[in-house]
């Protein structure tokens, strides 16, 4: 058995099955926690009827998804209508394959590293995640197109423009990490952060971290970027016509995408499975126990991120569409490009991992942006420059 496990491919397949199982449970309970945390933030009780504390609610929801009538409206594009939720689910569930869950493992304790606790470690590394993230737009777009419903169609248009726009700052921010680490394999990026005196990339590039986090919110269509399913304007957006398990598949795909996205941010900026100075979480700890410990640390970091996603949902209001596009093209894009150029100059000067230089430069960029904003004479209204001014009609005699 142990000999069999020492083969990387066998180990990968078993790990993949285990993680898909965990991910399914995690996604179901994400929905439960989303509702509980929403309730907590809004001073409500939340689901509490099914089982103790409502803990069986995901099972009840799942049962309802399966048993509900699954309407396929008459004038939808039927193949694409079926394909879209399938696409959303599949793409949500294949991104995790290259996340480094537990570092290197020595299974039989002979001091030789046998396998890596990662389903796959392809040479293209992070590009795989970018590709999967880019494909994820198809679930939304095909869904919106196939519905043949005006709301869904608008949602599909919006989602395309939004996801395309936010992919560019995302790519540039990942590039900053790649320039710092000199690697595109995720495990190597984690090791580079450990090797750099336990300084995670978030300490070197906090602004890039915030931009990447923002783009992950936009790519997963979460509030404040959920314009594709803005229920007040577009009913359900791209899933207006979906019901029963097809709607459930969109839901599962979205949460799985959130988990993968958080995993990516954690690997790139927060040291993956690593915590500084704690024995068992260092690269040289390769026992099975250390692997499980590393996996739980990684999972805990993802859980913190998921809580953050839910917290933001009830804290920030949704953007308007022009604000959304402006944020990406006029805000995040130039800033991340500037940071990228600055990082390459630092790499050239050999200062790419120096805390003072990186942090100083980032703070400099923030300062410049703030200074430009302060020097602008136009009032900050959130309106575009080409929009007509608001005229306030005062009644006669008013002060």
């Amino acid at each position: 058995m142990l000999e069999l496990l020492k083969d990387q491919f066998t180990f990968s397949v078993i790990l993949a099955l285990v993680i898909v199982g965990i991910l399914n449970g995690a996604v179901a309970y994400c929905i439960y926690f989303e509702r509980k945390i929403s309730a907590w933030l809004q001073d409500r009780v939340g689901p509490n009827r099914v089982g103790p504390l409502g803990l069986l609610q995901p099972l009840a929801d799942g049962g309802k998804f399966v048993l509900k009538e699954d309407i396929i409206p008459a004038n939808v594009d039927k193949p694409l209508f079926l394909f879209a939720p399938f696409m959303a689910l599949v793409l949500g569930f294949i991104g995790f394959a290259i996340l480094p869950w537990g570092g290197s493992v020595d299974l039989d304790g002979d001091g030789v590293v046998d396998v890596i606790a990662q389903v796959a470690d392809p040479g293209i590394g992070i590009l795989y995640l970018l590709g999967i993230g880019g494909l994820a737009v198809y679930g939304v777009v095909l869904g919106g197109w196939a519905n043949n419903n005006k709301y869904a169609y608008f949602a599909a248009m919006r989602a395309t423009a939004q996801m395309l726009s936010y992919e560019i700052p995302m790519g540039l921010c990942i590039l900053i990490v790649v320039l710092t680490a000199g690697q595109i394999r995720l495990e190597e990026i984690v090791l580079a952060q450990v090797g750099n005196g336990n300084i995670w990339n978030i300490c070197l590039h906090p602004v890039a971290f915030i931009i990447l986090l923002t783009t992950v919110f936009a790519e997963t269509n979460r509030t404040p970027f959920d314009l594709a399913e803005a229920e007040q304007e577009l009913i359900g957006g791209y899933h207006t016509e979906y019901g029963a398990l097809k709607f459930g598949m969109f839901f599962l795909g979205e949460y799985a995408h959130m988990i993968t996205g958080s995993g990516m941010v954690i690997v790139l900026f927060l040291g993956g499975w690593h915590l500084p100075w704690i024995p068992g979480l260092q690269p040289e700890d390769v026992s099975i126990g250390a692997m499980l410990l590393k996996m739980s640390v990684f999972g805990a970091k993802i859980a913190v991120f998921l809580f953050f996603f839910m917290w933001v949902r009830w804290t920030l209001p949704r953007f308007r569409f022009d604000q959304l596009m402006r944020l990406s093209w006029k805000g995040l894009m130039p800033i991340s490009l500037a940071l990228m150029c600055y990082t390459s100059v630092l790499v050239y000067a050999g200062k790419a991992t120096s805390l003072a230089w990186c942090l100083g430069g980032e703070l400099g960029v923030v300062f410049i942006v703030l200074a430009i904003n302060a020097m602008r004479t136009a009032p900050i209204t959130g309106r575009q420059r080409n929009m007509p001014a608001i005229t306030v009609h005062k009644p006669a005699g008013a002060p």
Binding site: A74, A120, L130
Partner: protein, 187 residues
């Protein structure tokens, strides 16, 4: 409540060009990722920038895709087998807040979406060039030795930095132009 509007055939005829251009864009996007993967992989063979690669991880990825696909197909099948199906004209009509549907949903849309698509292609191709460059540049800066390709072309870190500075400068000129032209404004 009968759906008023063109039939599916008419609608396809009318908006076919939109579908085709959308598909072309889609293919371009995927080619881009292939290009990115290929260019990094090519660099690896070209100047040994990345570590060794093997096909084993791709086998594992195929297994994961297989698991995910079977989950998706299984979900659709279960939904198909278990759900009740009681059809009805009203039930099967398009839901637009209870209003009778007027016309087809696939209408013309704002030209700005096309602009965004074009700008996206431009900037994303830029990022494609930056990926392999970043790896080569890091290696050249770290070791202090020029990157020598199999074709005999050699470039030190300074040359690489200068080349990318010129490239980004051209790009920034284009970016400034489109900003001034108002291609990024929505109205």
């Amino acid at each position: 409540m009968v759906v008023v509007g063109p039939s599916k055939a008419q609608s396809l005829q009318r908006y076919g060009s939109g579908v085709v251009s959308g598909m072309v864009l889609a293919v371009c996007r995927e080619l881009r990722y292939l290009m990115m993967a290929w260019s990094c992989d090519g660099f690896e063979r070209y100047c040994g920038v990345m570590g060794e690669s093997s096909l084993v991880p791709y086998g594992a990825i195929l297994v994961v895709i297989g698991i995910a696909v079977s989950m998706g197909v299984g979900a659709l099948l279960i939904a198909h087998l278990v759900r009740p199906a009681r059809k009805g004209d009203v039930k099967d009509s398009t839901y637009e807040s209870g209003m009778p549907t007027i016309g087809d949903a696939r209408q013309r849309f704002n030209v700005r979406f096309y602009l965004i698509a074009l700008l996206f292609l431009l900037f994303d191709v830029e990022v494609v060039f930056l990926w392999p460059w970043a790896l080569a540049f890091f290696k050249a800066s770290k070791t202090g030795e020029p990157i020598v390709t199999t074709g005999g072309f050699s470039a030190g870190s300074g040359t690489l930095l200068g080349a990318m500075a010129v490239f980004v400068a051209f790009l920034l000129v284009g970016f400034a132009y489109e900003w001034r032209k108002g291609a990024l404004e929505w109205d």
